[in-house]
Structures are given as C-alpha cells and as structure tokens.
Amino acid sequence: MSESIAIRARDIGKGFTVGKVTTRVIEGLHVDVLAGELTLLSGPSGCGKSTLLAILSGLERPDAGSVMALGEPVWALDRRALQRFRLHHIGFVFQGFNLFPALDAVEQVELPLSYLDLGAAETRRRAEAALDEVGLAHRRHMRPAELSGGEKQRVAIARALAKRPQLLFADEPTSALDSISGQTVIDILHRAARAHGTMVLCASHDPRLIAHADRVLRMEDGRVLTDEHHPHPPIGLDVSR
C-alpha cells in the first residue's frame, strides 16, 4: 500500500447563501487523502461530506483554502485546464447511475474514453477490460433497462475506472443498492485502490461500508471529528489482475 499523498487540502471553507441566510457548510478543514487506499467520508446528512467531495474533485470551488491534487493546485487552474485535469486523472461514481438509456454497457464505458483520443481499438479494449474487472463482461451488450441496480452501478464504476484515473470519487455509491450488490460495489472500489494504487474517496452514510474502508473520516458540522485507520487483511477477491 502506497503512503503517497494524492490530495492535500488546507483551510477549506465553503458556505451557501439561500436568500439572505448564509450557511457555513465547511470551516477551516484540513485533510490529506492517500493513494492506494479506500477512504470513507462518513457522517450524517448535511454534515458537508458531499460538498467536500465536490471541492476535492474540482467540481465546486471553495470560498477559502487550497487543494493540491497530484501536485496540481486544482483551484488555480482555469476552467479548461481543470476540465482536462478531470479528464485525465479523475473518475466519478454517483448515487444515481446516470447511464445513457440508449447505450449498451460497452458503449457507456467507451463514451468518456472517446474524449481521450485513444483510437477505436484501444478504447474498445479498455472498455472490455473495465467491464471484465467489475464482473460484467457477459452483460456488455445490455442496455441500462436490462440491468439490475447493482449491475448499473458496476457499469458506472467501469466507466470511471476505464480511464485509469489516479483519483476516484464516489458519492453514496451503495445507498440505492441491496446489501449483496452494495458489498460487490464496495469490494470493487476497494480492489481498484489496492490493485491500481488509486486514491478512492467515498462519501457515504451507509454504515455497511465502514468495515471495508482502509480509513474512515467522520464528519459533522463541516469538520472532521475522527480519523481512523483500519488495518485491513487483503480482500477476499482476486487482485492479481
């Protein structure tokens, strides 16, 4: 397991204004997230974990503070450079699977890859490999309507992994899934961290995930309350791939 710091965030502050009321969601937050680990941001709804995820992943600009991701000052980049940074280094898995209804599983995975200009053959090869990695090779020509919720989320994970990102963000990836599907999804994310050295940062209030995380950051009222490392035995799935 690598100890290198993938993301370093300092003095992060963020507030939202609704009408005349400004609510501070995050205040003076410091955090380092390591590569090769599955880090879980947990806490009750409204504790700011999703907002922190958005700030660290370059989707939401903080009011204060700095984010260094893979050595790049994320919020000093202009819009286009930030987009390019996301394209090359960041994968996302959202709670809603957000798959295009018209595309089959392989095409869902190929779609974001196509913006990397890899060529048709390499794009197809990577997409097939990513689907294989999430155990859906046999479902690759099915459309979302023909897949179960867990399978859809696995396609969404394959879509995020196929780019081979160093940073993978997941927002409530299991909350719409039954326990078995949720277990499968968390195993896949965990394996991605171990096998590829990817930083996986997962925001969730799903207590089932805590046991599977390498590290758990408990948040409340916009602050990190506790920071626990779980020394994990190797996960029970084949990681030799």
Partner: protein, 375 residues
C-alpha cells in the same frame, strides 16, 4: 467514437418525434405555400407560358400581360422585316361579360383572340391543333375544364358573351388564370365580341428562326426612344414582369414572406421545446460526462448533431408530405409551381429551424453542472 446522438435518437425516437413532425410540417407548409403562390401567379402569365414564340410586342411599359392596350398594326410589319423573325401572329385581348345559365348571373371573363391555324403560336402548348381548328367556326369558344362550373355550361352548349351568342366547342387544361375565366376564340370572333372597341390587337407574338437569339433580337426590335408606340420583350421577360407585378404590386409577395416568418417561428418554438425537453431529460447523464472530462463544447456537438438528424428526418417527412399534397393539388387542377430554387430555399429555411432550435437547446446544457450531482 460512440454515436451517442444517433443512438439516442433511434432508442428514444418517441421523444424526438414531435420535433421531426414540427420540422416536417413546417417544411411542407413552406413549400406548399410557395408552390401555390408561384402556381397562382404563374397562371397570370399563362398566355405567355402556354404559347410558342420567343418575342412579344405590346404597349410600352406594360407591367402585366392583362394590362395590355392596343398597339399599331405596323408593329407586325416592323417585326416581319427582321430576317430572324419566321412568323408573326396577333393576339387580341378583350374584356368580356358572360351570361350562361340564369342562376349564375354574369361572370367577368378575359377573351383571348388567337389565330386558329394549326401553326398558330398563342396557346399552342395548351390547345391541340384539332381542337384549335374548331375555333374557325363563328362564335366557337374553348375554356379550361376547371372553369366550367363558373360558366354553367357543358361542351356543345351556348352562352351569351358581350351580348353575342357563343358555343363551347371543347375544353382543355392549363388555361386557368388569375382573377377571371379565360375564354379562347378566333381573332375573327374576338373582333365581333369587341364591337365598338379598339380593333387593333394588344400584342404581336413572333417566332424566331433561332430561339437562342431571342435576347439579341428583342433588343434589336425594340423601338427605343420616348416616342415609341410599342415595346418588344422576350417571352420570359414579359412573363417575369407579369409574375413580379402580381407578386409585389398586389402585396402577395409580402404575404408569402410574412407567412414564412410565422411558419419559421412556430416550427422553431415547437422543435426547440422538444429538443430542450430531451436535453433536460438527460441532464444528469450530460453532467456526469462533463464531470468525467467531456467539455461543454463536446456535449453541445451532441445536441447539435441530434438537431441535425431531427432536421434531416423532418426534411424527408416534409418532402413526402409536400409531394402528396402537391400531387393532390395537381390532380384537382390547382395551379402549383415548384422550382429548384424554391425547394432549396424551403430546405434551407427548414434546416435553419432545426439549427436555431438546436442552439436554443444547447443553452439548456448550462444546467449540466456536475456539482449538482453531489448535492
């Protein structure tokens, strides 16, 4: 490259159908409107278009063929003196008042007096020689079959025209005109119907030995100068003057432009609303793609491509619809005029509708903010 735009269109065709239908009906409305207007106003020049002969001589400054006045008979001699001219024929124009059956009252008609000879030029394209020869009978008339109900008679029956009894010897097609019924008679009958009026013809029509030289010969034949008593045009020039006069002096041209604007607006509103709805329905997917690094420009291209395909489908549908409507119109003797530039103009407007709608739908993509997926 995954063909997201096309696959989505095929898979969710029901969602895009209203847009394609709006485009198809817009295209059909534009084209049929244009075809009808050109058909109707082309019929103002039916006297020219249904005749052979490349040169027309008429009263100077005549803006439309139905506004002709008598010209001196020496114009005929003048035309014949040009070695290029092979044949000259007078064309008499008489305004008439028709009384057929008592129930229909009187009808305002245009009487065209033509040479009934088999080699005659005027209306040579509309009246076959055998029928034309029957105009030699005194009082014989020919009308367009579509005008029969207005006149209230059948072939073989008679009616009263300018107080004289005339006989319908036959009908033909392609004689319908704007503003009244065309009645074709011989020059002799026309003269009798015009008793008391100016007996000199309104036009002389000339056939050239070499039709290709019409422009040059018309320029030679035109008696330039302020005191000229007649002017000479090529047939297409006089036809164009006539159509132009009817289109613009009557305000119909502006009407066409106005109607086209309305169709364009309605088509754009419906098409853009449908496309915007489709974009809004996939906004989370677009936002996810944006989060994964696809630029807004790349997403806009997807929407514009969809608009383009909607337009192509609409064009095809509009083409079929237009063909059906125009075929129906043609079968009912409704004058329709379709020209390639007209079709091209309508197709351009239709693609304009879809591209503008696409651009409006692209604005909806602004809502594809991936940060919203995390709230």
């Amino acid at each position: 490259m995954v063909a997201l735009a096309r696959k989505t269109l095929v898979y969710e065709w029901r969602r895009y159908l209203p847009a394609s239908l709006a485009v198809a009906f817009s295209g059909m409305l534009l084209l049929v409107q244009l075809a009808l207007v050109f058909g109707i106003f082309d019929s103002a020049a039916v006297y020219i278009n249904a005749s052979r002969g490349q040169i027309w001589a008429g009263y100077p400054g005549t803006q439309s063929i139905d506004l002709g006045r008598s010209i001196p008979r020496d114009a005929e001699v003048h035309l014949l003196m040009n070695p290029q001219v092979a044949q000259v024929e007078p064309f008499q124009w008489v305004n008439g008042d028709w009384r057929g059956s008592r129930a229909l009252g009187s009808v305002s008609v245009f009487v065209s007096g033509i040479d009934p000879a088999a080699t005659g030029l005027v209306f040579a394209r509309a009246i076959p020689p055998a029928l034309r020869a029957r105009l030699n009978e005194p009082g014989a008339i020919i009308v367009d079959r579509a005008d029969l109900p207005k006149l209230g008679i059948a072939v073989g029956q008679s009616g009263i025209l300018n107080g004289q009894r005339v006989y319908l010897v036959g009908t033909t097609g392609g004689l319908r005109a704007l503003g009244g019924v065309n009645i074709v008679t011989s020059l002799a009958t026309a003269e009798r119907l015009n008793a008391g009026g100016d007996l000199r013809p309104a036009y002389y029509v000339a056939r050239l030995r070499d039709p290709a030289r019409a422009e040059a010969v018309a320029a030679q034949l035109d008696p330039h100068g302020r005191l000229r008593r007649y002017a000479v045009w090529t047939a297409p020039t006089l036809a164009a003057r006539t159509v132009h006069y009817w289109l613009f002096e009557t305000g119909a041209g502006l009407g066409v432009v106005f109607m086209s604007l309305v169709v364009f607006l309605v088509g754009t509103v419906i098409t853009s609303q449908t496309l915007m709805g489709a974009v809004a329905g996939s906004i989370s997917e677009y936002a996810t793609l944006n989060a994964l690094g696809a630029s807004h420009r790349a997403l806009s291209r997807v929407v514009m491509e969809q608009a383009g395909w909607v337009g192509v489908a609409g064009l095809a549908g509009g083409g079929i619809l237009s063909a059906l409507v125009l075929a129906l119109a043609h079968s009912q003797d409704v004058p329709v005029g379709i020209t390639l530039p007209g079709i091209a103009a309508c197709a351009t407007l239709v693609m304009g509708i879809t591209m503008l709608s696409g651009m409006l739908a692209v604005r909806t993509l602004r809502n594809a903010d991936p940060a919203r997926l995390l709230r």
